[in-house]
Subunit: 412 residues, 2 copies
Amino acid sequence: VYRAYTAGRLLSGAITINSRHRATKAGPGELLKLIRASGPVTRADLAARTGLGRASVAQRVDALLGDDLIREAGGAPPTRGRPPLRLVFNAGSGLTLAADVGAIQARLALTDLAGQPRAERRVELSVADGPEPVLAAIRAGFERLLAETGAPRERVRAIGIGVPGPVEHATGQPVSPPIMPGWDGYSIPERLRTSFEIPVLVDNDVNIMALGEHATGWRQRENLLFVKVGTGIGCGIIVNGQIHRGAEGAAGDIGHVRVAGYEEAVCECGNLGCLEAVAGGRALARAAREQGLAAGNGRDVVALAREQQPAAVRLVRDAGRRLGQVLAGFVNGLNPSVIVVGGDVAEAGEQLFAGLREVIYQRSTTLATRGLMIVPSALGARAGVVGAALMASEHVLDPAVVNARVGTPVGT
Amino acid sequence: VYRAYTAGRLLSGAITINSRHRATKAGPGELLKLIRASGPVTRADLAARTGLGRASVAQRVDALLGDDLIREAGGAPPTRGRPPLRLVFNAGSGLTLAADVGAIQARLALTDLAGQPRAERRVELSVADGPEPVLAAIRAGFERLLAETGAPRERVRAIGIGVPGPVEHATGQPVSPPIMPGWDGYSIPERLRTSFEIPVLVDNDVNIMALGEHATGWRQRENLLFVKVGTGIGCGIIVNGQIHRGAEGAAGDIGHVRVAGYEEAVCECGNLGCLEAVAGGRALARAAREQGLAAGNGRDVVALAREQQPAAVRLVRDAGRRLGQVLAGFVNGLNPSVIVVGGDVAEAGEQLFAGLREVIYQRSTTLATRGLMIVPSALGARAGVVGAALMASEHVLDPAVVNARVGTPVGT
């Protein structure tokens, strides 16, 4: 029995049965996933790895070639006779449109199916104006991206959108978003589909930023926190390589967690001592003004700190410590292996990270911090739009979606 | 394309490709999973649901029947001719041995493969004596369970063990466990396999309690926190239906998260204001003694609170509020749909829950709490041993392990 157990570990069963209790053979979508993950492979490799017969592999590969999702990429090193053709993923076969919608602007991109941008642009808007004018501006921006690049409209396969508030991911509807009046329960996909008849995926802005950062350098780390520190403070949580959205899509809303020692600070939410009220951009600017500094918002304080203005440096470092207090709790609770910090206030760099690291290492358990990395965002302001594009392309390349698209009957 | 998207959603692809990039056909293990999930099914049902041919289904079913993992359970309602036999999971075909090891005792059980106990017993021990005497006591206890019930030793398929400290789940070794001197890096599976040559699964006690509670009434809820409040305070986190262990197996260690407003309380870990130092059993007892109550430990305070002793009631309610402060952060961060609270201090019942709910509903966002349930443990002191048995039987019934055991070649 012990031998069987070891064998079981090594075999590592590959078929899962979903909630409808249906187990099927590998289709074109599963083969595409394998090709994307493993790089150039021959048809014989695919047969060996899937257990499918040569005819079944050929039929699935033809379907993928027919849809242009893969292409043949020259031979393997020749052994004898003509080398077999290798198959590779063709990321250029489709495009996505992506938008990261912020309070006062949106970043838009046209990307290929690997998330590589063909073109990007910014659109000024006010999210508080409500969904109709904002989505009209985004549609117009998308049209301009297509016109500028000459990309054929029919090659756009999906749209990914991030918005600054909680979203019910399955329906693409914001749920009581505090800074988005008029958007509660509004179907963003339905509105955009009047112009683009393709799937529209919507998520919270911090979740898509986490996706973008995770895909850019941290794919091997299965447990990652992305923390955005701006006017608001939020967190995208990646657990077992997947965005954790929680029961109501509200996970990651850490801006209103109470910080020990600052019970007097009044938050806009009505509670006392919330993280946003003691470490967010607005709180930083207020504290700076009280000390006689000219600071209209958090970015001004960050700029002063980068110039080594002593009071600003102190304020940013304190903000890092307060953020560290809250994150220390999540380090103990979730034991992530990476924390990526982004947002306007994170532009302060080492001044913020010094305070943050100090408190996390002091307040978290040794076991939880021994392998922990705390790093600045690699993508900066582009994290959201990169993540939105990846959310869209991951949908397009989902095996079930590929199987439905290329239309192979189940069980052949 | 929109039609394809919808179809993709409905189809919900069933084959995943694991980290070795291997996709295989459904084997006996996958069929067993299907039978367990869906209840009695005919061979024809299995063929329809898996896309396998009749011969392949027959071969896999024979393998499962041969291993006694399923049995034939009479006919379906007859339509014409002899009704086809239905296949059901045979939970009695195998047994597990389970132990929930605490500081001063262990609970042991012999269960079937559905986790139903055949017999249970308690063993007095001191976990601080180190692994050799403790595991000897557990082995002796297991032998007595087998002898008492007359269960054949060879039908025991796996052992599940929970211990009061962090564990590297893949190897079954405790990692720097604070209250388990001598156990750091000790291979529990290796030691137990000298007596029982079967797989041994080991996890943290709070994780197995979370497993037990989740399986007992909350299987439909994918995001659950189990909080144990005793001398120590810890948390088992279930995300997407799975235990979240974190990068180092340290997830859920919430006892040393700092509680706002109690910075003066010195914790045994050396930090100030830790949750354990202001809401754990020891802290409760100390506070009770300071008020002139006779309380040797947290359980004494709980007993007094249950008798409505006013000072004890106040202390327990305050402990609930402090626990609520820390959990409010995790409610905002993780957005669970259920919080189950167990452990000695939770025996105080409504006195603790009143304070806990008050603070969670006040300090968490509306969205995160609108569907949240906060409930006492259903299993009480048995949660750990039930969870340990389930951990063992889930391993035995894992499709890859079943396939390796019943020995069907891949791809037939």
